[in-house]
């Protein structure tokens, strides 16, 4: 028996069209497809305690505003943009509340702290430790480039920067990681 669910291999645009047509399972498929990448991105920016909440807010916000998504960027890039804005809002609230968990260059929060339950080999731990020495911006750009293969243009949209800055961040990050590994 063949499963004709809307999920599996349908492209994002098709799933979005199905969702707009009232097919609720399309939302499940889109969440399952993109949630983990959004969670990695959120963790790479230093969020530790409320990763899932941010991811959920991202999807709720996205589906609530889906009418405004015109497909000028990929759906994943759009989600990343929303996640980044939500994180920034949270950062502002935390700053105001004087519980400073800032997304700044001098914040050396380890993204590994958020990787609860992840089993890593010694090599992976060493590589991750090297990545954790990056600034949050370097780390998020490097992670998007390496794990998603996003172009600099897509990354610039996601993190609110420019293609040139994204390229510089990526190459600086690569240089730093190589130096750390060679130590």
């Amino acid at each position: 028996m063949t499963d004709h669910s809307p999920s599996e291999h349908a492209p994002d645009a098709a799933l979005i069209a199905q969702w707009r047509g009232g097919e609720e399972r399309a939302a499940t498929a889109l969440v399952e497809r993109h949630a983990q990448a959004i969670a990695r991105f959120v963790a790479s920016l230093g969020e530790r305690e409320e990763v899932e909440e941010v991811v959920q807010d991202t999807f709720v916000r996205a589906f609530g505003s889906l009418e405004s998504f015109r497909g000028e960027s990929s759906f994943r890039t759009w989600l990343l943009t929303i996640a980044r804005n939500l994180l920034r809002d949270r950062q502002r609230r935390r700053t105001r509340a004087r519980h400073h968990v800032a997304i700044q260059d001098d914040d050396l929060v380890s993204s590994s702290d958020a990787l609860e339950g992840a089993v890593a080999t010694e090599t992976e731990q060493r590589l991750r430790a090297a990545v954790d020495t990056l600034s949050p911006m370097q780390r998020s750009i490097f992670t998007l480039r390496v794990t998603e293969g996003l172009s600099y243009k897509e990354i610039a949209l996601a993190v609110g920067s420019t293609e040139g800055a994204a390229r510089v961040h990526y190459h600086n990050a690569m240089r730093i990681i190589r130096e750390k590994i060679d130590e």
Binding site: G22, A27, T28, A35, A118
Partner: protein, 203 residues
């Protein structure tokens, strides 16, 4: 280690690792890597880094999907809800509630009984609109008028509504939505550049 002289192809190594190159570009990059020690080493590093970075925080995608569906069912702007049975049901339920309230108000207006007028007629919509923007079961955010029904003052006021007022009230009930006003758009950064790393210098 020899210095790579082809930055353009070197820049495509992450796309190669993520299998995002077309056949021609892939062939070019692989040919370059075969003759460039630096790129070969970087490619090996990327292939080691990717699985290490792919480990993300544990999240419950089923719970997130359920929250999206529950929340979206309450969003007036969602096409299925606007054009489907759900929207019509909401409108019918709101209209029926208003009519029932009005009828009760008419019945209770007997000589000698003075109905208090302490509660404004638009109280229920206000209460719904001020609900916190967190995910909640549909029945929590769904427009309803139980609080208003409890007051004779409301009954009296509602019974005095004209047809146009009733239509306006039911329309406002249908439009209530917990969706935030802000819609982040790619390329637009309304909150400034606080995430930007000034050390990049790439602007």
């Amino acid at each position: 280690m020899s210095e790579c002289t082809n930055g353009e192809l070197r820049d495509l190594l992450p796309e190669l690792v993520n299998d995002r190159l077309d056949a021609e570009s892939r062939q070019r990059v692989e040919a370059h890597v075969a003759s460039c020690t630096e790129c070969a080493e970087e490619l090996a590093l990327l292939r080691s880094l990717r699985p290490a970075l792919m480990h993300g925080p544990a999240i419950d995608t089923a719970r997130i999907a359920a929250a999206v569906r529950a929340r979206s069912a309450d969003i007036a702007g969602r096409p299925p809800a606007r054009s489907g049975m759900g929207s019509r049901w909401h409108l019918a339920a709101a209209a029926a509630t208003v009519l029932a309230v009005g009828a009760l108000g008419y019945v209770t207006r007997k000589p000698g009984i003075v109905a208090p007028r302490s509660v404004p007629v638009h109280a229920p919509p206000k209460q719904v609109a001020s609900a916190p923007p967190h995910v909640a079961p549909p029945h929590v955010a769904a427009p309803s008028t139980p609080t208003a029904v409890a007051s004779f003052g409301v009954l009296d006021n509602v019974s005095d509504l004209s047809d146009d007022d009733v239509r306006t009230l039911t329309a406002s009930l249908d439009e209530l939505s917990p969706v935030p006003d802000v819609d982040p758009s790619p390329g637009i950064d309304p909150l400034g550049a606080s995430l930007e790393d000034p050390s990049a210098g790439g602007r």
